[in-house]
């Protein structure tokens, strides 16, 4: 078996290389892929390294949106200039593991790996980010990030996530993560809250409790109707009553971790195990704190 490593310098070259070698695996930071290779779980016949494609390693503005390269590292996203525009994404990037991982791991890799604990994923879901996928022959198609994460749409052979289009909202955004220790570790649960004052909307996504980020849409609409939008981020102002904030947390938690439904024959409803109830309380606290910090 011959193994090869290709290092294209443009997206189209990468697509061409992947199309030419269907067994090849694209690799960017390698923080997930190389773990599998080292453990012997993955034996790629060929690798296409995406690290030299400069067009996907930066970001730019484009008519009210940020167009983020899929090769942006977590370390880059954590920097102040990025954080000023995409605060929740920056917070998630800073929370994603130790510096070595953040220096190598990329935004696109986080999306394509689609690990349930991927820290940027709930933020992208709350931002309703759109992926720009590069395909053979210079083709570009756009697909919502949630479609890829939920498996509604998959990447076709030869396709590579090139960019991520994220709205510039100029409004508070928060990301919070509960972990088992103080140092870097995977999320037990995470929550992202994005305010959209222009549309008077609240968007929330909960990560790590399901295979993909969950959006509690009813809770979002309910709480958006209660917020006094003129008081958001006003010193001393109260944009949302504390009881409503608490209720929002519980609403989100119940939506993400619902009570079991009774069986069709009206049999006994199984009780949730204590660990799941604790996870629900954690989600409630995270959602409440995330919205509270966004409004205050």
């Amino acid at each position: 078996m011959t193994r090869s490593v290709t290092l294209p310098t443009t997206l189209d070259e990468a697509v061409a290389a992947l199309t030419a070698m269907p067994a090849a695996v694209p690799v960017a930071g390698g923080t997930d892929l190389m773990v599998d290779v080292n453990a012997g779980r993955l034996r790629p016949a060929a690798l296409v390294g995406l690290g030299r494609i400069s067009e996907i390693r930066s970001w730019e503005y484009q008519d009210g949106h940020g167009l983020l390269g899929a090769g942006l590292t977590h370390a880059r996203m954590g920097r102040p200039d990025f954080a000023a525009l995409f605060p929740a994404l920056a917070a998630a990037a800073r929370a994603a593991g130790p510096p070595q991982t953040r220096n190598a791991g990329t935004l696109g890799g986080n999306i394509v790996s689609a690990a349930p604990t991927g820290d940027t994923l709930p933020v992208l879901a709350a931002l309703e980010a759109v992926l720009v996928v590069a395909g053979p022959g210079g083709a570009r198609r756009e697909t919502p990030v949630s479609h890829l994460l939920s498996g509604r749409e998959l990447l076709n052979p030869g396709e590579v996530v090139g960019h991520i289009r994220v709205p510039l909202l100029h409004a508070p955004q928060t990301f919070l993560k509960a972990t088992g220790r103080t140092g870097p570790s995977r999320a037990l649960a995470s929550a992202a809250v994005v305010l959209d004052p222009a549309r008077r909307g609240v968007r929330c996504a909960v990560g790590a409790v399901a295979p993909m980020p969950l959006r509690p849409l009813e809770a979002e609409q309910w709480v958006a109707s209660l917020i006094d939008w003129s008081m958001v981020r006003v010193a001393g102002g109260v944009a949302l009553a504390p009881e409503a904030l608490r209720a929002f947390g519980d609403y989100v938690a119940m939506a993400c971790i619902p009570d079991p439904v009774p069986g069709p024959d009206g049999g006994e409803t199984p009780a949730l195990p204590p660990a799941v109830l604790q996870l629900r309380r954690t989600v409630a606290a995270l959602a409440r704190r995330a919205l509270g910090r966004a409004l205050a």
Partner: protein, 773 residues
């Protein structure tokens, strides 16, 4: 060419083995000075050669097939497909073990390879040697083993009734202890149930070794062993060889805490090297390391404490159930420690205690620093908190009223003859100033639970302070013969120490150098590498090298000193006691005589060999009575924690410790060892538990098994090192590493109780136990 010439370590192309080379510039020397460990710089710079770095010309790579089930009958093993693979040189299974089928510490109950039964997940079934590590891995996967999967016994409480997992039965040991009046009762009675999880030693340098066949049919093993002579004997027995045909050379020990006492890679390596006639190397990966070595005994403890109205303890009743896993390993001694110290360092007139170590299909449990003592400390200190609540007393005050002192009796009937300054230790940590409250320090300096930029919210954080006291025993218990032999050689201005005590980070090589510097006044002291051609010095655990091995070095050095001084003294008609040696010079008491050590030697080499053997101990009898321990060490810890009561996250803000050390021999290392023990205790209290689902280890990696990081390590405050010399110990010193680890989890649990008001009965502390609803 002898086989050892062929063995080199790759990194830096330097010396194959770490040798003791003191610094050229005047460095601190002698007892009580902070002499630097010789390997510290190499380890910090990454140039130190670990066992995994060993290499020999033409070596083969070994891989071990590990069972995918916790309990299964082996119907058949077909090694044919693996043997047929190109590059595969040998495949061994139980059928290829020429000697003893079983081995073990104390009880030989563990097969070299699983024979008819697999008794725990990850048990070794077969091993392969091939010319490439990938080939070895693929060959292991090609071995066809047909299993008949059996229902695993994973609940230790059910092990009593279950079908025997082993011909020796499921109860490895039952140790009852009856002390005083079994019918005594107190005015106040509190009961509690406690569980302690499965802490893993989690050595960063995973198990590795290199075996080189010898021309006489024997084998030389280069491994990071901490008990080379026992390893040699066990490998020889399994390989059907006389012990003198097996040589163990200790190399590249990455720091250990008794976890390397059990054979992990030695037997497969030895068998494969003999079979193939080639050097064979095995380097375990992280997962294999987690599966291969023993863990801390998960323990279930039921307690009932009786006290009078003034808070004086009347009686302690306890049932202690330790999960030994499939094999006995270190369970006998862990149980003895748990039962003997079940009441803690408190005066208790009456005690009724029963301890069991039982077999299950869970991962094996064995020696891990503070085994037995840590589990009961968490329980008896939990009981003291409960008792304080029932009595309406301050928990620290209740402890102070009950602590033991020198001369008091353990529940085993043994009088505590060593210094036991428990009251002083507790007073010291109680009186130490508390860390600043968050409101008194700048916001950016307050690290909330959850870490920087985490989810912690100041309004939901509660602070708690808790105290705990605890004890461990030093040296092996219950009649273990703890002896070490050491040789000291002086040649010119250089002294050499030969002793088979393995440096595992406990500081033996540094201490041996300090002892020789002190006794012989020679600055340049080398400590020779360890192999089994030297006389045995025993395992590196329970402070034995600080006691017996350094004690033997001191005796040998003193013998050399006498040999050196006697001719001089005779010449001048004075006794050798009137001569002193310092800085390479010999001077008489009156300053008249002055000569250098080198001159006094007259070109001769002086050698002396000595042994150190502490006073004997006896096994505990069938009521748990007996003088089972050589020495005890104590510590008091105060923990300050911040708890986010909504998320259940805990951050330890500060640990303050006062410890009974006997005598500080090397201040820097003493403090480093205490700080390491405290930090490991933070892991045991909050995150470290190897999770197992129906006998199958979940997440054997450092993502799933969360060690404390630098952000989790609290401020460590060593309030006081109480130096009351233990007259029976060489130098009067006590080992320092284990007791901080033993006491810390209990102190943290106590602090979390104080912060939340919740009963904390389980370690590590889970978020759901902390959340106040």
């Amino acid at each position: 060419m002898t086989s050892s010439d062929a063995v080199t370590a790759t990194p830096a192309g330097g010396t194959p083995l770490p040798s003791a080379r003191p610094h050229a510039e005047p460095a601190p020397h002698g007892l009580g000075a902070s002499v630097l460990p010789t390997d510290a710089l190499a380890k910090a710079q990454g140039t130190y050669a670990y066992a995994a770095d060993l290499w020999a010309e033409g070596l083969l790579w070994a891989a071990v097939l590990r069972a995918p089930h916790p309990h299964a009958r082996i119907v058949s093993i077909d090694t044919g497909p693996a043997e047929a693979m190109p590059g595969v040189r040998a495949v061994v299974t139980h059928a290829d073990v020429p000697g003893d089928a079983n081995h073990g510490r104390g009880v030989a109950d563990r097969p070299a390879f699983a024979r008819d039964l697999v008794r725990h997940y990850g048990e070794a079934v077969a091993a392969v040697a091939a010319d490439h590590p990938d080939t070895a891995r693929l060959a292991v996967a090609a071995i066809a083993v047909e299993y008949e999967v059996l229902e695993p016994v994973t609940d230790p409480e059910k092990a009593f009734e279950a079908e025997p997992l082993h011909p020796d039965g499921n109860v490895v040991r039952h140790l009852p202890l009856r002390y005083g009046d079994a019918d005594a009762t107190g005015d106040v009675v509190v009961e509690g149930l406690y569980r302690v999880g499965r802490q893993d030693p989690a050595p960063i340098g995973a198990e590795a070794g290199l075996a080189v066949p010898r021309v006489d049919g024997g084998v030389e093993l280069y491994t990071a062993s901490t008990d080379p002579h026992t390893d040699r004997d066990r490998v020889a027995a399994c390989c059907g060889l006389p012990p003198e045909q097996v040589k163990v050379v200790v190399t590249g020990v990455p720091g250990a805490m008794a976890d390397r006492e059990d054979l992990s890679v030695q037997i497969p390596l030895g068998l494969l090297a003999i079979r193939t006639g080639c050097p064979v190397k095995l380097a375990a990966g992280r997962e294999e390391s987690f599966l291969g070595h023993p863990h801390r005994h998960p323990t279930l403890l039921r307690y009932r404490h009786h006290a009078d109205g003034a808070g004086k303890l009347v009686k302690v009743e306890a049932q202690i159930l330790m999960d030994a896993g499939a094999y006995a390993d270190g369970s006998h001694e862990a149980l003895a420690a748990a039962v003997s110290f079940a009441a803690g360092p408190y005066v208790v007139p009456h005690a009724t205690i029963d301890g069991w170590a039982v077999r299950t299909n869970n991962p094996p449990s064995g020696h891990v620093r503070g085994e037995g003592a840590l589990q009961v400390c968490a329980a008896y200190e939990g009981q003291m908190d409960k008792l304080a609540k029932a009595l309406g007393m301050d928990p620290a005050e209740l402890r102070a009223r009950n602590v033991m002192a020198t001369g008091d009796l353990l529940p085993t009937g043994q009088a505590v003859t060593c210094p036991a300054p428990v009251a002083e230790l507790l007073r010291n940590v109680r009186e130490a100033p508390l860390p600043a409250l968050p409101k008194d320090c700048p916001a950016d300096q307050w690290l909330l639970p959850g870490g920087p930029e985490g989810a912690g919210e100041p309004g939901a954080v509660r602070r708690g302070v808790g105290h705990a006291v605890g004890m461990v025993h030093l040296l092996g218990a219950e009649g273990t013969d703890e002896v070490a032999t050491a040789t000291v050689k002086v040649d010119g201005a250089v002294a050499t120490v030969l002793c088979a005590a393995v440096e595992t980070g406990q500081g033996f090589t540094t201490l041996a150098r300090q002892v020789v510097q002190e006794v012989l006044g020679v600055d340049e002291v080398h400590v020779a590498p360890v192999d089994t051609d030297q006389p045995p010095a025993g395992p590196g655990a329970r402070g034995r090298h600080t006691w017996v091995s350094a004690g033997a070095v001191e005796r040998a050095a003193k013998m050399v000193r006498t040999q050196l001084l006697q001719p001089l003294a005779a010449n001048f008609g004075m006794s050798t006691e009137l001569l002193s040696i310092a800085d390479g010079k010999i001077t008489s008491y009156d300053g008249v005589l002055s000569t250098t050590v080198a001159e006094a030697l007259e070109g001769k080499e002086l050698w002396a060999t000595a042994q150190c053997r502490p006073h004997p101990t006896e096994p505990l009898d069938d009521t748990g009575q007996g003088d089972a321990f050589v020495g005890l060490a104590f510590a008091a810890v105060r923990a300050v924690v911040d708890v986010d009561v909504e998320l259940g996250s805990v951050r330890v803000v500060e640990l303050a410790i006062a410890q009974d050390v006997g005598r500080v021999l090397n201040p820097a290392q003493c403090r480093a060892r205490i700080e390491a023990g405290l930090t490991q205790g933070v892991g045991a209290a909050l995150t470290e538990h190897l999770r197992v689902a129906r006998g199958v280890v979940r997440h054997p990696d450092f993502t799933g098994y969360a060690l404390p990081t630098a952000l989790d390590a609290p401020d460590l405050r060593i309030v006081e090192l109480v130096e009351e010399r233990d007259v029976v110990a060489p130098f009067g010193a006590k080992s320092v590493s284990a007791v901080p680890l033993v006491v810390t989890p209990a102190a943290i649990a106590s602090a979390v109780r104080a912060a939340t008001g919740r009963p904390i009965g389980r370690l590590p502390i889970r978020p759901s136990a902390v959340v106040t609803e």
